[in-house]
Amino acid sequence: MASTAKIKTGRHRKGVIKRSTGDKVADVIIYVFLALVAISTVLPFIYVIAGSFATEKELTEKAFFIIPEVWSLNAYKYAIKTANIMRGLRNSLIITILGTFLCMVFSLTFAYPLSKPHFRGRNFFLNMVIFTMLFGGGMIPSFIVFTRLYKLYDSWWALILPGLISPFNMIIIKNFFQDVPRELEEAAYVDGANDLHIFSKIYLPLSKPVIASISLFYAVGYWNGYFNAMIYLKTAEKFTIQVQLRSIILLTSSIDETIMDFYDLNGAPPDKAVKMACTVIATLPILIAYPFIQKYFTKGVMVGAVKG
């Protein structure tokens, strides 16, 4: 690989290996196109971030800008004070941390026995899991069972418990366990260790990469979840950030211009910038976590999933 890399850089600098003009034109088109794709994915975020720091005057006067002329934190002050956004953030944080922790406990312990080829009943349990990937009770029976039998209505547990094990994630963990060299386990058996010791002392410490990536999968899922929060939660104090953001955006966009004039008369912060600020606040945790997410998501795990 090192030698091809050298050839490549040489080609870039001097064009040692001859490439037709058609190839070069195609390269330019591909590079430009990919740049446009990349920009189009981040431009909406940049637009909203810039707008959230701008004044109402600038927002109404200019159609588009990346850096506001006059910086203002009014929208954030207003959002934090009145829009219940902080409460939503706190609730989502609790649900995400608790949910992710429980997910990992359930998924790791369930995947471990299934990763043993000798485990009696393995095929039965695996088929039981795979069947749930093909068929499920659906929205209404789940709603009835969770609220009538388990009394989970208006409870955070209704958001946490139904997703404790994702079959897909569990299978990734199982495949990871299967790739751990057998010799480690055999040696421990000879030394008289039982399965619980082997799981906690040998397998878990070796599984840090898969634990990191799968917990990020789960955490992002909990943080972003909206629909369940909407159908199960009733008390406003329990609302998650997504429900909160949704109501802010809906409220302001349905009241529209009339309320904007009202805001201006009262000297209140601009409606548009507040919406943008709330969007930024709700997006921020994901963007902060993104470097970690990218590190663990793209390496290994997906490749493992393809193999599995």
Binding site: V37, T41, A63, F119, T132, I140, F146, Y226
Partner: protein, 315 residues
Amino acid sequence: MSKKDPSLAKVKPKKMPFRIYFKRHKWLYFLLLPGLIYFIMFRYMPMGGLVIAFQEYSPFLGFKGSKFVGLDQFRKFFNTPDFPRLFKNTLGISLLQLLFFFPAPIILSLLLNEVRHQGYKRTVQTFIYIPHFISWVIVASLTYQLFNVSDGIINQIIASVSGHKVDILSRSDMFWGLIVGQVVWKETGYGTIIFLAALSGVDQEMYEAARIDGANRWQLLWYITLPALKGVIVMMLILRVGGLLNTGYEQIFLMRNDLNVSAADVFDTYIYTRGIVNGRYSFSAAAGMFKSLIGMIMVLSANWVAKKAGETGIY
């Protein structure tokens, strides 16, 4: 060596009685237990809850007390005047996604594969994965802020070009396009991962060799790259076909409003409004069961076709 677990030596040990096996590996069953309880309580109990699709379920009478009505709820569902519209919207959105969203990540990963400058490639990848991790609520918020008629930037651009604004968010004839556009924006980048992973397994020397033999770019694509992707493409296609009736209710629910509802009502949103909002539990449970069954049949048959055609399939 006498202490060594015989079950480790071979995949199928010489018939050890289950009692002894269980005694030796009781901790494995102990570890399995929480997950097993989870699957029973939260995956299989709702399937049991499907009995209400065959009842006239009333919350006061419960599962046992409600009247059994056989396939009446299904009959009612097929006969509602809404059914053709739901079917058309669901299938319309899904087929548009199959047409535009399915090939998009494949094309994008082929383009990324052509990039030789690794830093450039990685930078592009970093950007295009971001939207996948953003919630649908935020995507919907961004869409509102960009497209709304009063101050959305897109509408200001449209107005400056054509002279009048277009209320994209509330026009039923633009709803399908809006939904597919959102999905393409959000998921195309992340969708490339699986194809790029498959491409990373291709031996680079094959390209070098082919190039020395005088193959051009299209020939490399046609004879090396695409065959390497075939298995993954078939697998993704099976999953897509199986999910043809799953239109992603969170997204559609968020973008739906009173004005575009005629194009926006799909099976999932209908089940939600009839079931949870209007309280017609049995009726919408039947609708949901119909949907799940069709989905399962479609995955299994797509898988069967793929296997017949010599691909590995997924099950």
